[in-house]
């Protein structure tokens, strides 16, 4: 359920938060999206869009951090070896 796609906010207009709207770029295509649920949105933010509404401003810092953590954990763990017990993936579980 619930196809939602990230897009980059190009513009924000509208005084009243419930009616706030703007253009969002989805990898080269653009559509007018409502920001009623993300009234604090700024141009340049990435938002997650569903049914014409931004459901959330995507936390880019968190995205980068979690991705880097995942890749680091996976990289430390080369195939054939057992996972390094200090990697984040093994934080709660030492056994392979």
């Amino acid at each position: 359920m619930c196809l939602a796609i990230p897009g980059k906010v190009l513009s924000v207009e509208g005084e009243q938060p419930a009616l706030r709207r703007g253009r969002v770029d989805f990898g080269g295509i653009r559509k007018e999206i409502r920001f009623a649920f993300t009234p604090e949105v700024q141009p340049g933010n990435y938002v997650l869009v569903h049914a014409g509404f931004a459901l959330r401003i995507i936390d880019e810092a968190e995205a980068e951090r979690s991705q880097a953590a995942l890749e680091e954990a996976l990289a430390e763990w080369t195939p054939g070896d057992s996972p390094a017990s200090n990697s984040s993936l093994d934080a709660q579980d030492g056994s392979p």
Partner: protein, 354 residues
């Protein structure tokens, strides 16, 4: 009064030009029909065969190579809206039929064209469509030699419907039965642009995009392959149902398994993004100027090079091979390394939200 003094003249309501809007009488075979022909169709398509203004055309034997096989095809064109980014129903009606001939390995030569116009259609729209057809026919080097026009009541025809039929001369034998295990599978360019260009102007789903329809004549591509002495085994254009449906049809007809790589299939960024947004799969989206070719693997690179020399097939690339296992399916190695069997499309792809 001046009028009373002058000689009695019947003020015929028939205007000198076809008027601003199509009316039923434009299809009635009388004066208005004639004016429509003289002002709209004739200037665009004039040629000695059409100019005889007969209901049929006699095609000169001298135009054909002796004993050459002929290919014959017909198709009807309905599209909403009539004009879309990168083309209109006129381009489609010419390209669609010449491409059906090209996919038979035939050089397109003659076209017929029947219009069903809706009462109230702006004549300017018809002129624009006819002008596109003229340009498309010129580019495809075909002559439009006979035609017909009917007008139906307001609200009965989405503006206009066009049916074209075409005759071409076969230059190379291509058929599903010639597909061999080991054949390379080549697509002529990036996929999905036509379908997404139409979607971008569909009421209720509109979006701004740089995507334009890929509508184009494909005979020059086929000719380029033949000039490069490629023994093309089979050709298929990727219209409704897209790549996936075309490959499935052929795999089923020929009884072989096709193996293709998702990462090799060209799809532009904007088309990919539009597909993500509406939950569609570019492998099922319609194209109007793309085809798939089956040809000997040893000649595949040469074929791709030949195709790349033309604008319309600049993105041509090998996407996979015909397997020697028996079967009737299309196997896709996904970009993430998984495996998936591509199915035929069931009905039209609908934008989804969930």
């Amino acid at each position: 009064m001046a009028a009373a003094d002058s000689e009695f003249v019947l003020h015929c309501p028939v205007p000198a030009d076809p008027g601003d809007r199509i009316v039923l009488a434009h299809g009635g075979g009388g004066k208005l029909s004639q004016r429509l022909f003289e002002h709209v169709f004739h200037p665009a398509f004039s040629n000695p065969l059409l100019d005889q203004r007969h209901d049929g055309a006699v095609l000169p034997a001298a135009a054909f190579q002796a004993l050459a096989d002929l290919a014959f095809s017909t198709d009807s064109y309905v599209v909403k809206p009539l004009v879309f980014p990168g083309g209109n129903i006129g381009d489609l009606a010419v390209h669609g039929t010449v491409n059906d001939l090209a996919m038979c390995g035939a050089r397109p030569m003659y076209l017929s064209c029947a219009f069903i116009l809706e009462e109230g259609l702006p004549v300017a729209t018809l002129r624009a469509v006819v002008e596109s057809m003229r340009r498309a026919a010129e580019r495809a080097q075909v002559l439009l030699v006979t035609g017909d026009t009917k007008v139906v009541d307001y609200g009965k025809a989405d503006g206009m419907f066009i049916t074209t039929a075409g005759v071409g001369q076969v230059c190379h034998p291509v058929a599903a039965s010639r597909i061999q295990p080991g054949d390379a599978i080549v697509v002529s360019g990036d996929l999905g642009a036509h379908g997404m260009a139409i979607l971008s102007v569909r009421e209720g789903l509109e979006f701004e995009s740089p995507i334009v329809s890929d509508t184009a004549p494909l005979w020059p591509c086929v000719e380029a392959l033949l000039k490069a002495h490629i023994d093309v085994h089979c050709l298929r254009d990727l219209t409704r149902g897209g790549l996936s449906s075309a490959l499935n049809e052929l795999a089923q007809t020929r009884g072989l398994i096709f193996q293709i790589e998702e990462s090799l299939i060209p799809v532009t960024g904007p088309v990919r993004s539009a597909c993500e947004l509406f939950g569609l799969d570019p492998l099922y989206v319609a194209n109007e100027g793309r085809f798939v070719a089956f040809l000997p693997a040893a000649e595949a690179q040469k074929a791709v090079d030949a195709l790349k020399s033309l604008d319309v097939s600049q993105q041509a690339t090998i996407i996979g091979f015909v397997s020697d296992e028996p079967g009737h399916s299309v196997h896709l190695r996904t970009a993430t390394g998984g495996l998936r069997i591509l199915q035929m499309l069931s009905g039209e792809q609908l934008p989804r939200i969930c």
